[in-house]
Symmetry: D3
Subunit: 328 residues, 6 copies
């Protein structure tokens, strides 16, 4: 009965505090993150109902993943539990110029990577949904996950649920050739594509003189309802510029560019997806979608963890031009 | 017997570490802060004697407030203790652009907000003092606090103690109309007014083409011995510019503008008051007052907590042009 | 649609780490706790569906309370949100013999204490429930809370939902006379009474030569379906003995006495309620109820926070005689 | 103008958290401690005025020592400040049976150890005092400290201030022969001797069949107004038994023996001194002195740090038989 | 050139602080542990040279494992590095009665579990060694690890290096039947067997009326130079009794039984092995071996982490009867 | 047998977390640092063998210093152990503009400062080495350390080991005149001089219009094989520019200038030395030396502690132009 249903991996995220390198740390901060997990929570925090579909082990880490999802009111009733596999982990080191932040995956053989077609009751999970969202990461996890990924897209179409996909290419998980083959298939189910210039080039070999042209070429090749392209400029590790454009019905929509001071940029793109989906699905307003997407995402950079703990009021205030003074 | 006596609320301040949002935090850092508490301590750290007058409950939080005051040698013998009420709290979230820092008050019905006229032995507390300092916040706490605030000003005048007031408008505590009524009354007792352009506009509806003109208009309306106006420019949440001017005897005094990297900006203005009062009261030197006020305050931004733990030697070094190299 | 619905206050709980006194601490651990919150979560963790009804402010602390409830899958759709009031707080100091642990409430004027009759849609909240659970604390919060408490009992009866009440006398909240008057009224709606010898004596002036006799006298006066009495023996602050008895249909049921090493005893009684309700409601087996109640509760003492993070497998292992060796 | 004046060293105390060994630790908890510092604070917390005399460097650690003293209202106006020397440090490792807790001193050449006769204005410091307290540790710090120690005793006598001395033998600081020579001299100024059987034997070679006999022999040799002997029984590192006796006017006074769960036993003896002095000086009641001394000290074992953060109300409750139940 | 060479897995150990359950924790303490790693370090800390052979990935966790070994002076020049596999992890939850501590392995497909026969240059690694030590855990990791385990034993025999084996049965890694088959083969290379009654029964189906008889039966079946059996009695989760016996040349050697307060019992048995090997290898003194083994091991229970940070002086003091008083 | 041997002091470094001032902190982070310690570790992490020579007390802090050296594979077999003296300490406060970071030494009478000529077996320590490295700090520690410093240089020459010296003037340890006298003597043994414009001016009174001229003048006066001059520009406390030049055979070598975001700048210069020595000694390539030196050093600024935990792969990536995007 959720408005938005997402499907993918959530990992336990372990990060050394205070810019320590993993090799030197005596403690790790524990959080949970993952692209589709982040989107499901973002949408829920903004006020729509959402559900997250994944596969987790029946152990403390599997329960932690589900707890951290439910905490924000996201429905987890279609999560698949298994006594077999492990929870995926990722280690995150925070950088400072000229050392970029760094992700070290320990997600091999995670429960969700071993999901098989048929394990999720998609008809029930998607019943009544407005939108189904997943990303290239889910497909990249393993050959069986790829099948389950394609199955989920078919099921969404069968259930007349709109599909949004974040291309999200991860070089550590599969090759560009593998991604191209699978994601090209996926595109035929896709209504809304969310991506970056770089991923577009790596997965589809599409380039353009600017990201507007890239959006148009994507639309031309695959015929999407809407393309959303995010743009990050790395002024330094601690300061980025951040914006996005949307292409819809031949028209390009733009919004403000934010200069962000970075506490934690992981999940920034996912917040953009969540904010956009919220704004766009509420009343089909592309401009509101992109305004809220980029603002919600800019706010995310100031919050530790993958999850965006900001509120609709804060997004509204920022979109409305709220300043940097202390609020009291 | 203290040189400077201040009067107001000190709250237990609870802030999530490491830029966590309050909603997500697993721990809180505990400190104590409050405008007049900050000034009393600042003055004491710079080398004058000071006393703080407030009202606190006889419980661990009330004792903590008094402990943290005495720690810096501030006299607390005129603090009013009560078995009834609670200690005021405030929660502080640290931001990063574009998310400003945020204060959430939980100070309603605090012990000091329930103070009544006549509870403080002002003649004893002010005996031998050179200056009495309070702020608009004390007046804003409650109707009875407003009476006690005005009583304190009268008592200062009766005891021939100079009065400085920080206008400090807090929209979460009272309306602009309430503030205007009460603070206009207070101005007739005021020798030194410390404020900002914004607060002047909100409380007294006085505006000017620059803050020099604002200072002159304030002087013209109320006839102060001295007006001190601080100016903050928010380059970003982590970087501000900070300076002040003073108007005295028709002359405007200026000082250096500092670009500050912000660890914790709360209490920055109070450090400016403390540094100014120290410099000015020592030998009536307005220029020294403003130099020390702004330097002490610039240093405050680099120190966690409301309290300015810097030393007179550090202020001297900074006023003297000390650089940014590591000192060793 | 929850099996068990509970009603009461959940507070943000702030405790100094490492046995620090509140007065001396530099940090506070942040958790959420409260009698009926604890029971709702306990029941959910053991495998039944549950819902929690309370009233919270729309601020970070209010959201935290709801998040921490939802985290365990407890339904919060009937929580009442308000823009007015504050979240209740409590400070907890951990002791060591001969210094007992200590609770300092700062819960006055909390959102739930200001609830009024009619604010909760009880017919919806109780629809399909097997049991409604609340405690004397809810009644003690304020006169309007007392009315809402009695209303909830009436509604439960109207909806043919079984009622369990934990007497839970709190001397800091109301007098014995007030408690006696209100709780005597409440008893006529009560099917299952959960209490201690001490509370029985203070609230109903009922005493006996042992707690079996107390249970019988309670039954004789009020005619309950079942009385559960817990017994704690304080060997020291860090070591307690813990057990309970149940009286049902004239028969007394007993279970093992555990010697517990205490990490955090707060919520121990609530875990006993949850374990008992789970065991008893599942198949009407009083012996299983008391076995699971006392075992789940014994485990609680080893877990930090009000919430019992243990699992049904761990209860099963303990009830089945599992030992103290490290499990690997 | 303080009732009680104490004289000695306060060190910055650095202890690894969570039972870590110093060699392995990544963080250190920072506190301040020292025998006479502890007594001055203990007396102040119980309600008498007190002052602490020491010598500290004008650096952050010196200021920290003074801050932590003033925090409890102890007067520090006779502290000697120096630009030369360092602050003494001690490292404390917490043990668990069979590994005892362990103190590693790094106090050589501390500011107080380099104090010289004549640096303190004793006539001013002792003016109006009821009692002067110091310990064998002060004498043990260095030859010049020894002279300053004897000077302080003479000054106390000249000012007709009663003298209490804690024998406090520290084998790491001086030999038994050195201690015997110096402390025998000191005894002629001593009205109240506080000690243990073991220290008495090591310093004065006095032994007895029990500690009553030891007290009598001490009295016979030196003719004190009062002898207080504390007794600790180490059941384990985490559990001790703790009591004391006093001999006064030929009569032996006893009190309850406490079994304590040990959070931090450092400063336990000093709390006994403080509690005793408070009880005895208030109205000359030896029994109250020893009751309060042992109770205040028993409570100290439950509090982290050298300082006893308990309150007179808690002592009263314990002396009155208060139990181990959580207080709420 | 090391006196003692050990071979096995070292894992990154992640444990929630302050008795938190893994499911609820916000941080994890990071350490390294593993049976043979612990023994190599223990022996080195007591004063003999040692080397550790394992296989680790060339990533931060692999480097951390090697760093933490080298830190104590253990030679790591024969560690096998791989770009392929992962570092094994284990999660450790600390318990309190009646909840035992709990280990959750995430060590599948670790680098060492994928070691193959022939990867280690055993002739070089064992050159000049007095003793080679490994345990049943190494054999249990995988079929290829089993082959590498047996190869190491053969190589030790070829190089005339004495062999000690800790039986260390881990039910989570292999079945009793698998263990019996492999370990029976291993016994023919074994000079010194270190085990417990329980493991003997599970692996070899040998039982006896007491552990002396078990030692004799082991000796009778396999003809060892020496059998060491450790005995733990779980008084509670926080208090154990701990001792051992050795059988050598038909004679049984006993030592003191320690009652230990448990900070961290993991690695306790390995410390016993290390202490025993140190004492026994130094001058063939079985009594010294067992005295040092049990004392070093008793001390280990008081130290956080797998590694025993105690010193030879501390063992000497304990064996010599040192008490529980604070050392200062 | 180490390629590079360094000689100097390593101190236990204690720093308040989170920008706290030392005076206000409740905890200290514990690390180890010191110029030559940093260089020995840097060289080892990049892949050459190294050894560190120092003198430490046989206590937990002395062992910690050696542990933290060995952790990175640095040979410590020529460290001198003493039962007498103390470990040097330094306190480090992190600043934010306009407050610079600050070092407070407590290193007086440290074990290494009391080293005497003849205590180190230099012939053994230097056997087979390619380079010996030390700095002006070692000479500045005490008169006897100065003799040991000059002895080490003689021994290096006798053993035909190339010598590099970092001038490293520390005003808190000796006067410019003392430094000039001693370092002028030292220069005749020096093959590679590493320094800054400022130190050159203070110690040798050599100035120039730019740092190229300074390098040439140094070469002209002392005739070095190579001069390396580092240049730091303090944009703010959190942002610096950083580069270096080398003069060799009359030719000036330059490299990229990095803008660094500063997590911890202590040890930045030492990383430059280590990176340079690694690059230069490997194959005599000055350009590689300076490229690696400045890149390794730029990375150091992003890592907490004196030690540079970065890897050769990270240096290679940065020298090769790697960007600021998160790596995943």
């Amino acid at each position: 009965m959720a408005d938005v249903v997402t499907f993918g991996e959530a990992m336990v995220r372990l990060s050394p505090p205070d810019f320590n390198r993993l090799e030197q740390t005596a403690t790790l901060d524990v959080r949970v993150g993952g692209a589709e997990f982040n989107v499901a929570i973002g949408v829920a925090r903004l006020g729509m109902s959402s559900a997250f579909v994944t596969r987790v082990p029946t152990n403390p880490l599997g329960r932690m993943i589900v707890n951290k999802t439910r905490e924000h009111g996201v429905d987890c009733s279609h999560v698949v539990w298994t006594k077999e596999d492990r929870a995926g982990l990722y280690f995150l080191e925070f950088g400072a110029s000229p050392r970029p932040s760094n992700v070290i995956y320990d997600r091999k053989d995670s429960a969700i990577s071993r999901i098989k077609k048929g394990e999720v009751n998609w008809d029930a999970a998607l019943s009544g949904a407005k939108l189904f969202h997943t990303s290239g990461i889910t497909a990249a996890l393993s050959p069986t996950a790829r099948e389950a990924f394609l199955e989920s897209l078919e099921k969404a179409k069968q259930n007349k649920v709109k599909v949004s996909i974040d291309l999200n290419y991860r070089a550590k998980l599969w090759t560009e050739a593998e991604a191209q083959e699978c994601m090209t298939m996926a595109m035929k189910y896709t209504d809304i594509l969310i991506t970056t210039e770089e991923d577009t080039m790596r997965v589809f070999k599409i380039e353009g003189k600017d990201y507007e042209e890239v959006a148009r070429k994507l639309h031309d090749r695959f015929g999407f309802e809407l393309v959303l392209i995010t743009l990050r400029e790395d002024l330094s590790v601690w300061r980025n510029k951040w914006t996005a454009i949307a292409l819809h019905d031949g028209k390009v929509y733009k919004t403000r560019t934010y200069e962000v001071e970075i506490v934690d940029r992981v999940g920034g793109g996912d917040s953009c997806s969540a904010g956009f989906l919220y704004g766009y699905l509420q009343d089909g307003d592309v401009q509101k979608g992109i305004d809220w997407g980029v603002a919600f995402s800019a706010l995310k950079h100031s919050v530790p963890g993958d999850v965006n703990w900001c509120t609709p009021d804060e997004v509204k205030r920022l979109v409305g031009g709220g300043g940097l003074r202390i609020v009291r």
